[in-house]
């Protein structure tokens, strides 16, 4: 491989990681944008999403990488996997909001944030006790189709991940930009009290943000499984932290910012892994984060926190 090929290969890998981080970062940003809450439960909602996806694929009789599907069965199995993990995670998000966070809505201080940390550990332990700590083989039914671009390899896996991420991010952008509920979400993020006085039911908006963000974490979890061919109870922490970093890098509360931040973190991760070794990845990622925050405290695209009046 030439240096150019290596660069291209890392860009391909980085974009896949980036797709995963972007989807996960959006959940942090949606919730933060609306209620200025860092939702640490999101880390492990993501992990649960990858577990759900694994169980769904296994329920179709797939295990490991032995069973290859093509055509309609492949599309069907992947679709069911994504839909079930997204809806499952979305409902977990709704449950967390409705029963654990809403009672704390008017409590000042860190109570809500601490609750999300607690929920994160509960999710972690539930999976630990039911599915164990071992690294599991995540079924991957994709046929080994690949395209050579110079010396770099583009596999079907990457194309699928990019396609899913584009559809989901496009869908979210459409939702937030053009639908009535999406506009209510933006209005609430900018000025919750004014939005309420327009007749917006803020509870509904907050719940929608949790549903959407958590559903995207579910999709991200399935992408993690397809990318690494594994599922493990502790994947939430590293991926969640990078996705959170991505959200801050792009400007937390800012939807395009989370997408951009996720892609950048993905590219940085694969690039630094190539250039100076994977062990340095976190140092590079957080180094860049610190630099960006020093020079642009609101993140690359600006933090869109509520208007203070």
């Amino acid at each position: 491989m030439t240096a150019g090929d290596l660069f291209l290969q890392q860009a391909i890998n980085g974009l896949s990681l980036g797709a995963m981080y972007s989807l996960l970062a959006l959940g942090f940003t949606l919730v933060y944008g609306i209620m200025e809450l860092i939702n640490f439960a999101h880390f492990n909602v993501f992990m649960v999403g990858s577990m759900i996806a694994m169980l769904v694929l296994q329920a179709f009789g797939l295990s490991g990488q032995q069973t290859i599907l093509t055509g309609l069965p492949l599309v069907g199995v992947l679709l069911v996997g994504f839909v079930v993990s997204m809806v499952g995670c979305g409902l977990i998000g709704v449950f967390i909001e409705r029963f654990l966070l809403r009672p704390l809505r008017n409590v000042k201080g860190p109570a809500a944030m601490i609750t999300t940390i607690g929920v994160s550990y509960i999710l972690f332990n539930v999976v630990l006790l039911t599915l164990g700590t071992d690294s599991k083989n995540f079924p991957n039914p994709l046929p080994p189709i690949k395209w050579e671009i110079g010396g770099a390899v583009l596999r079907m896996r990457e194309v699928l991940i990019w396609g899913i991420a584009l559809v989901l991010m496009g869908g979210l952008t459409y939702f937030v930009t053009y639908t009535k509920l999406g506009k209510a979400m933006r209005a609430t993020a900018q000025d919750p009290e004014a939005a309420r006085m327009m007749g917006v039911e803020v509870d509904k908006v907050v719940m929608s943000a949790f549903f959407l963000g958590s559903a995207l974490a579910g999709a991200s979890g399935m992408i993690f499984g397809l990318y690494y061919n594994l599922a493990k109870v502790d994947i939430g922490f590293a991926a969640g932290l990078r996705a959170f970093t991505a959200a801050v890098l792009g400007g937390i509360g800012n939807v395009p910012g989370a997408m951009l931040g996720g892609v950048l973190i993905g590219l940085i991760e694969s690039g630094s892994g190539q250039v100076i070794g994977a062990a340095w990845t976190d140092v590079v990622i957080f180094g860049i984060l610190v630099l960006v925050l020093v020079f642009r405290p609101a993140g690359l695209l600006g933090r869109l926190a509520p208007n203070k009046s």
Binding site: A184, R186, E201
Partner: protein, 245 residues
């Protein structure tokens, strides 16, 4: 009063935690009236607005709208029934377009022909708003923002508009325009409850008024009565008050 008032406060008390803000307050706003609420800083004017909108709840006493007690009614339902706010400092959604702000005003209303009519009416009332419809609301001048804020309230098809200091921070020309518009809207059958520090202007268009002091109503009457009241003359009409930034 012969007919049931549109909105009525009876012995309303409100609190923020331990802070007792409104103290046994009584207001009535009749159909078709412009009622002005005067008072100095921090006396509870905005709290009155928020209590009408249901963002702050009356701890004791009753708030009645169209003859029905609405103490427990959600804000969204109040808006749906025709109470719309023009908030203090305008509070537009700064990073949404002017058009989207108007859409938010119509949040409780069905979309369709009625929406198009309402938008057309707002554009007719404020041609400037039409020109600026695709601009980010946060980039408008203060006066333009106030037009959008009033237009946004109109999009809710209100029977009652609650305005919190609509003249605040505006140039005299815009103040004039805003008060003219308030009268125009009122003539179309919308009742207006208006908080103002600009007592001169407020009493020149209001039918009646209340004076609030430390959360209690200390004076009420027709606009003419209030204008000739010695206390008002001294406290509020002596000179044009500097607009509060």
């Amino acid at each position: 009063m012969a007919s049931t008032p549109l909105l009525e406060f009876k012995n309303v008390n409100t609190y923020y935690g331990d802070l007792h803000v409104l103290k046994d307050v009584n207001y009535t706003i009749g159909e078709g009236e412009i009622v002005s609420l005067l008072g100095g800083n921090a006396c509870g004017k905005s709290t009155t607005m928020k209590t009408i909108m249901g963002v702050v709840r009356a701890a004791t006493g009753t708030v009645t709208y169209q003859g029905q007690e609405i103490n427990g009614l959600a804000t969204s339902e109040r808006v749906r029934r025709g109470i719309a706010p023009v908030l203090e400092a305008r509070r537009l959604f700064a990073r949404m377009s002017v058009f989207e702000n108007l859409e938010m005003g119509a949040y409780t209303q069905p979309r369709g022909a009625q929406f198009d009519d309402d938008i057309a009416r707002v554009y007719e009332l404020f041609p400037r708003v039409k020109e600026r419809r695709n601009q980010q609301a946060g980039t408008l001048s203060g006066g333009e923002q106030q037009m959008v804020a009033i237009g946004r309230a109109l999009m809710a098809r209100p029977k009652l508009i609650c305005m919190d200091e609509p003249s605040m921070g505006l140039s005299p020309l815009f103040v004039e325009l805003v008060f003219d518009t308030i009268q125009t809207i009122n003539r179309q059958g919308v009742s207006i409850f208006m908080v103002e520090q600009n007592a001169n202007m407020a009493l020149s268009i209001a039918h009646r008024g209340y004076v609030l002091q430390s959360g209690a109503v200390v004076l009420s009457g027709t606009a003419a009565e209030l204008r000739s009241n010695e206390m008002i003359k001294q406290a509020y009409l002596g000179e044009m008050e500097a607009p509060v930034a």
